[in-house]
């Protein structure tokens, strides 16, 4: 069951959706236009700030550049083939992706309608997801990769990983058919980005000096500002995934917010207990963990479920981060896997529990038990991990043969801003 393909169905089930599909509703359209702006806002400037504040001074621009260039290139790719391969009628490549009928947005006119909104708006809204997912990955290999191979990787990854998984889950593919629940992208966005990040961190290797040299964030207020923008933008991400301006959107916003708030409080508490002091980077990271985790569940659970999910997310992602960086010494530099990957998995699984009306959720489909749904969720999770992990691995290996991924050690020392972009962040 999936809101994007099944809004006709949900229109019957949920309040306020008395509008017939196929007929444009100006209110739904207004909210989806706004949601699109909000999700773009998450990447630019949100994520760009969040990430670039965490790196060292000399790499601040390189991170912003990566986010920016990915946003531009992914947009064009989405319009050319991405949209049709996720949402196009029929299927191609043996069911891996949607049909080619809407390549170059063929047939998407100003008066095309998708559900109760213009199809152009649906194209745009979905595009913003295709922008942020590869942009999330760059946190894993920040401060050491070359720009050109990074861009090639991001685009190829979008096509070979994001697009198929999005089709399976949201485009009416095999996971959608099995009733896989991923409201706004726990698997499609967060597990995908997290797993790719882990593979990339392992293949690209640690930053020189890691973990002995300290690499503190160069501008934490900047990072916190970015985190706040992510929070606000996430309302578009999750409540926009209702593809309507109605009670479903309202509830999605409420549970999203509670996921963020309780994820923050949990991480803050974990730090307070373990280190005696709560940090602002901690509370903000907990917020992202809470949001990533509530994302798949956000159209299915109630406020109570959201609070449990958020709290769990904060604690689990906190320990995942410690383990990966401090114990395993894997330099997933901005902690993409432990926050988004682990959070996404947690959310995908917990959705099966808290969707149940016994736990205040919107209810499981007729005749489906929590355990059965958990099975479907686990299947989708494993499929996403396997596909994403495998393709990402091959892709990075292949690109590295043709164009080395890493800068030299000297360049790493000098900083990517000067070396790759001939710019410096600050002249203050």
């Amino acid at each position: 069951m999936n809101i994007r393909t099944n809004f006709l169905l949900l229109a019957v089930l949920l309040p306020g959706s008395a509008r017939a599909a196929g007929e444009l509703d100006s209110g739904d359209t207004a909210w989806m236009l706004t949601s699109t702006a909000l999700v773009l806002f998450m990447t630019l400037p949100g994520l760009a700030l969040f990430y670039s504040g965490l790196v060292r001074n000399r790499n601040v621009l390189s991170v912003m550049m990566q986010c920016f260039a990915i946003a531009c290139a992914a947009s064009v790719l989405w319009v050319l083939v991405g949209y049709t391969l996720v949402f196009g009628d029929g299927s191609s490549l043996g069911g891996l992706t949607g049909g080619f009928g809407k390549a170059l947005l063929a047939g998407v006119a100003a008066d095309s309608v998708s559900g109760t909104i213009p199809e152009t708006v649906f194209v745009m809204f979905q595009m913003t997801f295709a922008i942020i997912t590869p942009a999330l990955i760059v946190g894993a290999f920040a401060e050491r990769v070359r720009f050109a191979p990074m861009l090639v990787f991001s685009l190829a990854w979008l096509l070979l990983v994001y697009v198929p998984v999005a089709h399976w889950v949201w485009g009416g593919g095999w996971l959608a058919e099995r009733g896989f629940m991923d409201f706004a992208g726990g698997a499609v966005v967060h597990i995908n980005a997290g797993v790719a990040a882990l593979v990339a961190a392992l293949l690209v290797g640690n930053r020189s000096g890691f973990p002995t040299t300290q690499m503190p964030p160069h501008n934490l207020p900047w990072t916190v500002a970015g985190a706040c923008m992510l929070w606000v933008g996430w309302f578009g991400f999750n409540a926009g995934s209702a593809v309507a301006s109605d009670g479903a959107a309202g509830m999605a916003m409420l549970v999203t917010h509670l996921g963020a708030a309780t994820g923050s409080l949990a991480w803050m508490t974990a730090e307070w207990v373990k280190y005696g002091k709560p940090s602002v980077l901690g509370i903000a990271t907990g917020m992202v963990a809470g949001l990533g985790t509530i994302t798949p569940a956000s159209g299915f659970v109630g406020p109570g479920g959201a609070i449990v999910i958020g709290l769990t997310a904060g604690f689990v992602c906190f320990f995942a981060t410690l383990t990966l960086k401090q114990k395993l010494h894997i330099d997933d530099s901005l902690d993409v896997f432990p926050v988004h990957g682990v959070g996404g998995m947690l959310g995908i699984l917990l959705t099966a529990v808290f969707v149940s009306s016994s736990y205040g959720g919107m209810g499981l489909p007729e005749g489906v038990s929590i355990a059965q749904q958990l099975g479907v969720q686990a299947l989708g999770m494993v499929a996403t991990i396997a596909w994403c992990g495998g393709i990402t691995f091959v892709l990075l290996k292949a690109i590295n043969l043709v164009m080395p991924l890493r800068v030299t050690r000297d360049q790493e020392t000098e900083g990517l801003d000067l070396v790759l972009h001939e710019e410096r962040g600050y002249e203050i």
């Binding site: 503190p216 940090s279 980077l281 981060t321 401090q326």
Partner: protein, 112 residues
């Protein structure tokens, strides 16, 4: 002529400046530096990694004075910069061979 270089706690800078003005010192030059010494730094926390920062912020004050004013100046600095806690800093005296005022080309004590 002597150069007096004082490394002091940054929040004492204003007090030191006032003290020096009172005894008639007309000019000084101040830089921000990081000090390493007996005073412990602090720990920082970054997503679960706690680490030690050994350097502490200090202000470095340089004052060129005529030889006969050195003692008085040093005393004024000590009196105004001292908190009694570790990390209060140092004062170094070095010899200046010559000095010029750029604006006028004056040299010697009158250039100060």
């Amino acid at each position: 002529m002597k150069m007096i270089t004082a490394i002091v706690k940054p929040f004492r800078l204003d007090d030191v400046r006032s003290a020096l003005q009172e005894i008639g010192v007309q000019g000084m030059t101040v830089g921000e530096v990081k000090g390493f010494g007996r005073q412990r730094g602090h720990t920082e926390l970054y997503r679960g990694a706690e680490y030690q920062v050994d350097f502490v912020p200090k202000a470095k004050i340089e004052i060129a004075v005529a030889d006969d004013l050195v003692e008085q100046t040093v005393e004024a600095i000590i009196a105004s910069a001292r908190t009694g806690k570790v990390g209060d800093g140092k004062i170094f005296i070095t010899e200046i061979n010559q000095v010029w005022r750029i604006r006028t080309g004056e040299t010697g004590n009158s250039a100060l």
